[in-house]
Symmetry: C2
Subunit: 297 residues, 2 copies
Amino acid sequence: MKKTPLPILPLPILPQPDLPGLTAAMQGRDASGQPVALPVVTEKPLTIFLNSQEIITAMSLGDYPESLALGFLANQNILTDASQVAAVDVDAELGVIVVRTHQETDFEARTARKIRTSGCAQGTVFADIMDRFETASLPGGVPVSGAELTRLSKAVHTAPSLYLSAGAIHGCVLANKDKPLIYMEDIGRHNAVDKIAGLMLMQQIDGADKLLYTTGRLTSEMVIKTVLMGIPILVSRSGFTEAGVELARQSGLTLVGRARGSRFIVLAGEQRIRFDAPPDAAADTGSSAQRRLSGRG
Amino acid sequence: MKKTPLPILPLPILPQPDLPGLTAAMQGRDASGQPVALPVVTEKPLTIFLNSQEIITAMSLGDYPESLALGFLANQNILTDASQVAAVDVDAELGVIVVRTHQETDFEARTARKIRTSGCAQGTVFADIMDRFETASLPGGVPVSGAELTRLSKAVHTAPSLYLSAGAIHGCVLANKDKPLIYMEDIGRHNAVDKIAGLMLMQQIDGADKLLYTTGRLTSEMVIKTVLMGIPILVSRSGFTEAGVELARQSGLTLVGRARGSRFIVLAGEQRIRFDAPPDAAADTGSSAQRRLSGRG
């Protein structure tokens, strides 16, 4: 059982794909029936408690459990300030993490009432998140150029990572222009971004002058989390959903998708982008053959 | 408000990417600042009720809402038989679907008790799913050859689809060897597979002689759903997680990953695969450059 206070980690925090426990060597066969061995990423259940209330069981890579738990609670609008947290207790063997607060949270008071009257309180939680989303005010931010986005993308995809060594994993990066500051990987992109949110909360890192880069699609969930984290620019190598674009436009978030090589598409908040690519290099043909090569996001 | 009885749809059921409402045209800018317009997939909340109990709000593409609701409930082990269902009422405008059963389900009786005593019943639901998973017995199935997998993959990725026209979407296909029978797309691969499960339940389609193909990663969630659907073979163009492989081995599921062109890797249940590729063509080098080209899953 590990106890708080949690250590402050120096930035940048980058993947450590060789740490024990993150991958397992598995034996199988290839298409000709020949034996092969390959590294496969681990996936473990982690049940998050807030004081005595069970909140969720997440399937996760298993690293940075404190950051995942705190970031999940922050991005659900359940925790709003690190000073609320009295202790974080992890039992890695049982896959249980307990976040203890100095006082009962509003969330616990409200959901206890809601659960008594009408079952699970998921709808209430979602309404709370949207209330905070709708009143959130994003900072002006620091404009980013296409050249900086290209360098960031290259830095992320060439850094040692589980993505390079084992694949089948999502990555999420808090960056200062083209400099990765926190690069988290996980089975689900929501976990990777929650781990960043937890570190930002614990280490009091301000999102105002940063951007968030993700390998996953730009869905409503990713846009809401980014806005709640106070980060004004969200960039992905993958594509958009309509709700993601609409929420980004509503909140003033800069939304950049299909960022590959020197190409990208901006569908919201273009005032924070410095367009510095010549017209030819920038065209996203959007052809199916091109998308097929680059995979689904 | 649409009411049951639901129509029986003839197979194959393939994507209809030109149906209104599945994509929206959005305006933006490319990396040189030039205006571009591109189709973006829709993403809408759908709140599923079982009788009077709210179960979940899923963000979904929005097509086949009845199949999504019934398949979700089946894959959560809440519904086990189509004969339990009395009616399915959809209010597309409100994004609400109500599945009505002839009698109160075991799930409602148990969760009502659980919620009264100790909060949300998510842990109970997960334990129920694992109970059913652990006692599930997969059929012997029909062996599939590498050449058939290659033809299936080609058929899926060249069929007209939202993936080809807009991207940023997952696909899931119930197939008979190399013939797609039901091809569903959705924002999340869990929704795509739940829509297939719902159609299988409603149209009494047996999974025993079929296989399931997905564009997403082979996680524990995908393996559990496939086993609960009674399908003995799960194939993906993407990679594996350790828990996915272990659960597949435990349940006797055949698990094929990294299926691209004529290459693939089998990590469980190899007795259902006919290895017909010559050794050279089959090698998966697993190089980072190759994975980078093919995208993350």
